[in-house]
Amino acid sequence: MIRIPCPFCGTRDHSEFAYGGDGAIIYPDLDAPMQDWHDAVFQRENICGRQVETWQHVNGCRMWLLVERDTMTHEIYSVRPAHPDMAQALEVTA
């Protein structure tokens, strides 16, 4: 079991989370050339080692997170909100 320190809920088992995918992908503008969209949707660096990836805390705060994790050892180096502005806005509303 991987333990993920959620910035909102604290450290939880990975079974509370859903894996998204490669967190380094920046999606292009809607009117960007087809090749840019092809690369963003279909091409992956598939790093063996430290990579940034997205996880959603589906059975917790439901926030999307950016997790820096080693894909060989599964060690987690950092976790931060994927949308810090949204997190802040939610906290203010609450």
Partner: protein
């Protein structure tokens, strides 16, 4: 090399088993080969075998980082089937199944291929209709041995599934693929290694590739832990680690993510299950068969996050055990003997790649998802043909890296471009 035959088994039986020699040589790598295949798994060895046999290329090396049979060749659940619907995939897997049917004779090695049929359980009218549509497609396109069974037919053939009215997912019927079955995976890889070696292929174990040297658009040599090897052509057959070798060859992206898939085997039991049974419903996924030794061999979903570690996580063990109990409650007291995990190439559409690459003399065999074992003979045949003739056969014309640019996805499940969903 002693040929296996009834006479030789008998003769060695009465002469103290002294007439057998080792199954393949352990040669030192030569400084130059016509073709180097990186990866001594099922696909790499099959490719070397068919290159030698079908195309007369004998100066071949297969480089293996570990030992023959230590990777995914020995980590799969040994299921062979051809019930695919997408153009290209269905011809490919049907050809593969045809090759499986003759494989023991072809290799002079008993791969224990057992066509015990593959039964997919259906749990809703929608699933019956969708599967009937798929199976009709298969029947119309040449794979005539698939059929839909009623609940009564299924109960007669497989009496000890959970048919109770209180089952979480009551069974309504089944989709059956009769020529499908299982083979002994160790025998398959040993058989290919032995047969390739007999044709002069050098199988070099404990030989890790450390660099792929290029001069412009050509690979010139391979640096390995056992020295430098120059070669005319290089084939990559390292599913699970394709991206790492791709990087070594100086390229960055592939439409692949590496995930790990677990498999399980129980203590040996007396004959219990005479088919391959598959259950997939409501997010659960489970497939089971019984080996000739009696062990129940089964598996389920991926571990759900990208990984290169050959070790499985415990939540999936729990999921698979729950699925096992819901399908075959009689397994409840059976003890687990071993479980393990292998790293698989999960591709963006769930289909594989056998293709040329941007590097002229580098060829790629990758992206096998859950399906690498059953593909072995066809994968070797078509990859050897591609390497020898430098052009893809029409069956694999769309199994290239450019298909997504053409708007084509060979997506059997319709799951979309998310590698982990193509299980």
């Amino acid at each position: 090399m002693t040929r296996f035959s009834a006479w030789n088994v008998f003769w060695n039986g009465v002469t103290g088993q002294k007439g057998w020699s080792r199954q393949w040589r352990d040669p030192e790598p030569k400084p130059r080969y016509d073709v180097v295949i990186i990866g001594g798994g099922l696909h790499g060895l099959a490719t070397a075998y068919y290159l030698a046999k079908n195309h007369g290329i004998r100066n071949i090396a297969v480089l293996e980082k570990g030992w023959i049979g230590g990777g995914n060749a020995g980590r799969n659940t040994t299921i062979v089937r051809s019930n695919y619907t997408q153009p290209g995939n269905r011809e490919f897997y049907e050809n593969s199944l045809n090759l499986w049917e003759e494989l023991s004779h072809e290799l002079n090695y008993n791969v224990m291929f057992s066509q015990r049929s593959h039964i997919t359980l259906l749990h809703s009218p929608g699933a019956v209709d969708a599967t009937a549509r798929n199976y009709n497609t298969m029947r119309l396109t040449g794979n005539a041995d698939v059929e839909i069974w009623s609940l009564e037919q299924l109960q007669e053939a497989v009496p000890h599934l959970n048919y109770g009215a209180d089952a979480r997912f009551p069974i309504m019927g089944a989709a059956v693929h009769k020529r499908a079955g299982t083979a002994r995976h160790d025998a398959v890889i040993w058989g290919y290694a032995r047969a390739a070696d007999q044709l002069g292929v050098d199988i070099i174990q404990n030989c890790e590739v450390t660099a792929i040297l290029r001069d412009g658009d050509k690979v010139t040599a391979i640096e390995t832990s056992r020295g430098k090897i120059t070669t005319d052509k290089v084939g990559l057959a390292v599913a699970g680690n394709s991206s790492r070798l791709w990087n070594m060859a100086g390229m960055r992206h592939l439409p692949i993510e590496s995930h790990k898939l677990q498999a399980f085997v129980s203590e040996p039991l007396k004959p219990l299950l005479d088919q391959v049974v598959v259950f997939g419903m409501g997010g659960a996924h489970f497939y089971i068969s019984q080996s000739d030794k009696g062990g129940m061999v089964f598996g389920g979903d991926l571990d759900w996050y990208k990984s290169y570690a050959q070790k499985g996580n415990l939540p999936i063990v729990q999921d698979v055990a729950e699925a096992a109990m819901s399908v075959m409650p009689c397994l409840g007291r059976v003890r687990l003997l071993r479980h393990w995990s292998g790293v698989v190439d999960m591709s963006m559409d769930g289909s594989h790649f056998i293709c040329k690459t941007p590097v002229d003399n580098l060829y790629l065999n990758a992206g096998w998802n859950y399906g690498g074992f059953k593909a072995t003979p066809a994968s070797g045949t078509y990859f050897a043909d591609l390497i020898a003739n430098d052009r893809p056969d029409k069956v694999i014309a769309n199994h290239d890296l450019k298909r997504f640019e053409r708007g084509l996805q060979l997506d059997e499940r319709g799951a979309g471009p998310d590698p982990k969903l193509h299980g």
